[in-house]
């Protein structure tokens, strides 16, 4: 036990004029951690999640493409990149639902790899975990299928998500994540729109250090 630790914890207890918490207070703290109470929730999340998610994400300068089926993804990616005159080398997150898609047949113009992203990666495609309607926010997390740097290095960040993975509020997203194997992952990213800065004269510029564009492929798959 380090001296600094003792000094700080002792200092806190002295300042609060008590010793270590009594058993009842400790139980209170542990209960608060194991059964986290929710605070006030935005009522706006009680509306249709798909419409709200889309409106909020677009309000944060993301683009949203509604797709009918998961297999529509390769063609939708090819069309999106072609419309923007963007590079055709695409880096996939090594997620089976992405690597298993028929890229060669459905998107022959693209060169696809699932290796680790580098500083030169122009287009990255990730698998979202959950979308939160209240602010149009994507939740992604690190793991064997999800390199975190893929969310930040590319110029174009494309995220595939099923409409059934949309929830209303952040608290619902945490409940979904807590239910996963491997919780807590090294990194959970909440992402709302592309990178930006207003550090120069308070004027907004997209694409500061991270992606200049965030494109969300929202697959209905029977939902919505």
């Amino acid at each position: 036990m380090s001296e600094g630790r003792q000094r700080i914890l002792g200092g806190i207890r002295r300042a609060l004029r008590r010793g270590p918490l009594d058993a009842e207070a400790v139980a209170g703290v542990d209960r608060r951690l194991s059964e986290p109470p929710r605070g006030p929730l935005p009522g706006r999340a009680q509306t249709d999640h798909t419409a709200l998610f889309r409106r909020m994400a677009e309000g944060a300068s993301a683009t949203v493409a509604p797709l009918e089926t998961w297999d529509d993804i390769p063609a939708a990616v090819a069309a999106y990149l072609r419309d923007r005159n963007a590079p055709t080398q695409v880096c996939l997150a090594p997620h089976p639902e992405l690597t298993g898609l028929p890229w060669a047949e459905s998107a022959p113009t693209l060169t696809v790899n699932d290796g680790p992203p580098s500083g030169a990666t122009a287009v990255g495609i990730a698998r979202g975990h959950t979308g939160v309607a209240e602010t149009g926010t994507l939740f992604l997390h690190s793991g064997p299928d999800g390199p975190t740097t893929l969310n930040f290095l590319p110029e174009f960040h494309i995220v595939a998500l099923r409409a059934g993975e949309l929830v209303g509020v952040y608290e619902d997203a945490w409940d979904r994540l807590r239910a996963d194997d491997g919780w807590v992952p090294r990194t959970v990213n909440m992402i709302t729109g592309p990178s930006r800065t207003a550090d120069i004269e308070q004027t907004l510029q997209l694409g500061a250090h991270g992606p200049r564009a965030l494109h969300i492929l929202l697959v209905a798959d029977g939902h919505g």
Binding site: G39, L153, M190, D199
Partner: protein, 475 residues
Amino acid sequence: MTTHRPSAFAENVPGALADDQLQQALGNIKQGFVAKRARAAGDLPEFEALRDHARDIKDHTLNHLDAYLERYESRVHAQGGQVHWCPTGEDARRAVVDICTRVGAERCTKGKSMVAEEIGLGDALSAAGVTPVETDLGEYILQLRGEPPSHIIAPAIHLNRDQIAEDFRRAHLTLPPQRALDTARALVDEARGTLREHYLAADVGITGANLLVAETGQSVIVTNEGNGDLTQNLPRVHIVVASLEKVVPTLEDASTILRVLARSATGQEVTVYTTFSAGPRRPDDPDGPEEFHVVLLDNGRTGMLGTEFQEMLRCIKCGACMNHCPVYTAVGGHAYGATYVGPMGAVLTPALQGVEEAGHLPNASTFCGRCEAVCPVRIPLPGLMRRWREREFERHLTPLPVRSGLRVWAFAALRPRLYRLAMRAPLRVLGWLGRRRGRFGWLPLASGWTNHRELPAPAGRSFMDRWRAEGRDDT
């Protein structure tokens, strides 16, 4: 040029007021941060309830701070990270430098961290031979200029693009000298290209933390640029520098605080990137750092617990108080000569640096109350500034003329009859003298006021006199 110490506030102010470029930059705050915050708060009907809840979360956590820090630490350990408990800034600097030395770091990137500014981490690292590259665009520009930040969330708010273009030409010598740098876009792109190389080459990445989550052992950063994420995911080692009052119990609590943070700070619904980091990369992770350290700083904060200043520890560093402060928006952040500026700085700085050094800052307030009205965790900032004034007075730090003047005034104010009697003649004389212009450009003993603005002439009769003569029967 301003002097960077709080006791120099009064001498820094005239220069700031006369700096046209600074005044123009500060003028942007009203249409920017203030208008956007009002819109974002208005768009969320639950905003006021969320502010109450955020306040309650912080109060609960501060009253159980030891327990939540212990639980946070045990979660960090369970995930393979380390917590370094640092009572002082010196301890924290040493902890960071020791890690960098042990891993043989030559290059280091750094996300925005006010705590790092507070403890002078950059200078300590430079002295140890590991100069950190600031990656937040505003901080990067300030590093090139050798200046401290002038705002806690918009550090380069006092600069314009011509100044920044000049700095870039001076610093980026490998780029063509004739390149166009006349737009914000061109400047952002140049910084993006330059910093990209630093991210990829760094051995250690240092970030701050907006929150620490006891439930999960996660540290949380919010950025719009994505610089913090590149800083903490590409190097071999990630060091989080955080002050201990950043801890909250659970992700539900973090969610509440995030809902009020971005809206109060920039008027966004939420910041673009909010990142939760727990420990080093897992064995099957394709990327992420191999080591994860949290440098947990006290530096005088536990001394505020249990005192009248405990409420200040609720601060989530959004900057709303300074954006809405008539003093801050008149003089900017550098005049304060401190890491923390505006109303929150005026309360925090005397606690961290002593009332002898920083006693001026709580006096730099009109007590208009806007800071308290917008504070997302409802810190009674004017009340706390008043407490510092009282302490300054009690400790005889206030100048003698002010002290004796206040004493005379207090004597009279406690004796209403005497007060009214004593005021009657001067009011009549001043009212008569100023009857034509309605104001004075000069008055004996009042040059401190009249040198800079005119004093309105009194009406000639006091309210109490008029009330007695005419008001009483009018109800």
